[in-house]
């Protein structure tokens, strides 16, 4: 297993589109780093750059300390699991698993041994003589994983491996991947657009947007201290509420004034860094807002929409004349009804403060 690092790596396509811009990232030996972001954020491109399937326009890529920027994918000793699995359709499962080892001229007995071990570990020994077309989606995915495992590579690269599975299978396979990672102790670079997947699997997460990395940290750190407003509303469901506000300090009190309400926000993280009169964006997660009877909270509002998900309920509340509804999440219980007037109480200590100009969290800037 090896560590991977990217230094100021960029990828610009001939048509001028910059898919990856000045990305510096270190992936430690044995960690499961998830690259997460919306479509077009550059996460798959970063993965392909690590794999060597794309040539970097600038920067350096090293694997296990060695510079591989100009090294062909064949030589990098990385295993990749593709989104569509890319199993060789004309080869049997066994041949699919054995291919890479045959290319390396491994002795047949050793190949057989590894193939068998990997197949047994994934529960696909009975499928060894079938062709990919005869397998279900879940089985194909395991073969794709098996193909990677069999190689005992320096690191695993996984490109949205769960997105082609149906939702029921996805959760189960996700857990298996986590266990696999623990068992193998392998370095894994994992790409997904599903932030929930990222949160549950990653030892560390890199949130990407528009070709740059917005934040790299452990999932809970990202959840608790998002570095930018993008990360703040991308990670966490339902997504964080964000309000443009002005900060004012009057003596010991510190107030934030949003369009329809104002709060004393002295307890907010980063309050000490806020300057009087500065324009900010204030964030608060739906789970950190409590519903109270009308008049009992910080603001009053009208419930417009209620989404009951079973374990918890999301309410969309209109406060004042704001265009955006405030999202409130509460553990399941008697929920308010649409049209009802309620009060909302904000947990001050969970407020996040972002600079309106840089969109960066005041704590981390």
């Amino acid at each position: 297993m090896a560590a991977i690092s990217l230094e100021a790596v960029s990828k610009v396509y001939p048509n001028g589109h910059a898919a990856v811009r000045d990305v510096t990232l270190g992936i430690d030996d044995g960690e499961l780093l998830v690259l997460v972001g919306p479509s077009g954020s550059g996460k798959s491109t970063v993965l392909r750059l690590i794999a060597g399937l794309e040539t970097a326009s600038g920067g350096r890529i090293t694997i296990g300390g060695g510079d591989v920027t100009d090294v062909a994918p064949q030589e990098r000793d990385l295993a990749m699991v593709f989104q569509t699995y890319a199993l060789y359709p004309h080869k049997s499962v066994r041949e699919n698993l054995a291919f890479a080892l045959e290319v390396r001229r491994m002795p047949a007995a050793q190949i057989e041994e590894r193939v068998r071990a990997a197949a047994t570990g994934l529960g696909i020994e009975s499928l060894l003589d079938r062709k990919p077309a005869q397998l279900s989606g879940g089985q194909r995915q395991r073969v794709a994983l098996g193909r990677a495992i069999v190689r005992e590579p320096k690191a695993f690269l996984l490109d949205e491996p769960l997105s082609n599975l149906d939702p029921l299978l996805r959760a189960g396979t996700r857990a298996e991947l986590a266990l696999l990672h623990r068992r193998l102790g392998a370095t894994m670079v994992y790409v997904t657009h599903d932030q929930e997947e990222a949160m549950t699997l990653a030892t560390r997460m890199a949130v990407m947007n528009g070709g740059i990395i917005e934040q790299v940290a452990a999932p809970l750190e990202i959840f608790a201290r998002p570095a930018t407003t993008f990360v703040a509303q991308f990670v966490g469901t339902p997504s964080m509420n964000l309000w443009p506000a002005t900060w004012s300090c009057a003596g010991a009190a510190q107030q934030m004034e949003a369009a329809s309400f104002s709060l004393d926000a002295a307890k907010a993280a980063g309050a000490s860094a806020a300057q009087d009169g500065s324009r900010l964006v204030i964030g608060l997660r739906p789970h950190d807002i409590d519903v109270t009877p009308i008049g009992g909270g910080d603001v009053d509002g009208t419930v417009e929409l209620v989404e009951a998900l079973g374990a918890w309920t999301t309410m969309h509340v209109r406060v004042g004349t704001d265009r955006e509804l405030i999202r409130v999440a509460a553990l399941a219980g008697p929920a308010a009804r649409p049209g009802e007037r309620v009060g909302l109480r904000f947990r001050r200590d969970r407020l996040q403060l972002f600079d309106a100009a840089t969109q960066r969290n005041l704590l981390t800037s």
């Binding site: 064949q74 030589e75 060789y88 890479a100």
Partner: protein, 271 residues
């Protein structure tokens, strides 16, 4: 499919008979003694193999057959090889002038043969290739390669590059990948163009006529057309030769009709 009706089955039967009749008549006539060929109708009393015997003994029809096989075979092999290589580069690689190359090759394949037969004759004469196998294979390639290239370009475009990328990750070189992963998948397309190319070469006449200097270099179509009888046109032998010339073609069609239809209609359907 709309309801099959007996009316349409009848039409089909009529058409199929009309289609097979001339061929059947030719086969029958080739087995009829020469003297009976232009006499009153009615099936001949006896069927004879005289014409076939004359064909192979007196006329040495083996030579044109051998020439046709070698020319058609070589052209097919080379056309498939060069054409596939060219198609691979056009689809999977990036280089300048790609569209130009494709357009150029396609355009040349549309040239009327008559328009270039004279300069080709002169070029081949200069290169001392008249009356040789390469002398026929090279012009044939000019018309056969575009077919391979176009069909395979269409085919390869439909194969996602991910399979080859997976092979790269597995450590396979470009060559190994092309051989072990791409070609098996492209095989149906390659087979179809091979068949179509072979048929084209087997049937070609103008170039074979113009670039052969003596009976030893004739291909089958030329040999048949240039049959000379001592006193009159030797129809019996001509028809026997026609049957022999058509037999391999018929065999190919029988075996590969599905492929052929697929190849011919791939373009028409997708447009």
């Amino acid at each position: 499919m709309t309801r099959p009706s007996w009316r349409w089955s009848f039409v089909t039967a009529v058409i199929v008979s009309a289609v097979l009749f001339p061929l059947g008549w030719a086969v029958l006539s080739s087995l009829t003694p020469e003297s009976r060929l232009f006499q009153a109708p009615g099936l001949p009393r006896a069927l004879v193999l005289d014409h076939y015997r004359a064909l192979f003994d007196a006329r040495d029809f083996w030579t044109p057959i051998r020439n046709s096989i070698i020319v058609a075979g070589s052209t097919t092999a080379l056309s498939v090889t060069f054409g596939t290589a060219c198609a691979y580069a056009l689809v999977r690689m990036r280089f300048r002038g790609k569209t130009l190359v494709l357009a150029f090759v396609l355009a040349v394949s549309m040239f009327p043969q008559i328009s270039i037969v004279a300069p080709l004759y002169l070029v081949l004469r200069e290169l001392r290739l008249l009356d040789t196998y390469p002398g026929l294979v090279l012009p044939y390639l000019t018309f056969a390669m575009p077919l391979t290239i176009w069909m395979l370009v269409g085919f390869l475009r439909q194969l996602p590059a991910e399979l080859e990328e997976a092979a790269f990750m597995d450590g396979a070189s470009r060559w190994r990948t092309a051989w072990d992963v791409l070609l098996p998948l492209a095989a149906p397309g390659v087979a179809t163009t091979a068949i179509l190319t072979f048929l084209y070469c087997w049937n070609e006449f103008l170039f074979a006529l113009s670039f052969a200097l003596g009976p030893d270099s004739y291909t089958v179509p030329v040999a048949i057309v240039l049959f000379r009888g001592q006193y009159q046109v030797p129809w019996g032998e001509i028809l026997a030769a026609a049957v022999v010339a058509t037999a391999p073609v018929a065999a190919i069609v029988l075996v590969a009709q599905r492929h052929i239809v697929a190849g011919l209609t791939a373009g028409a359907v997708k447009g």
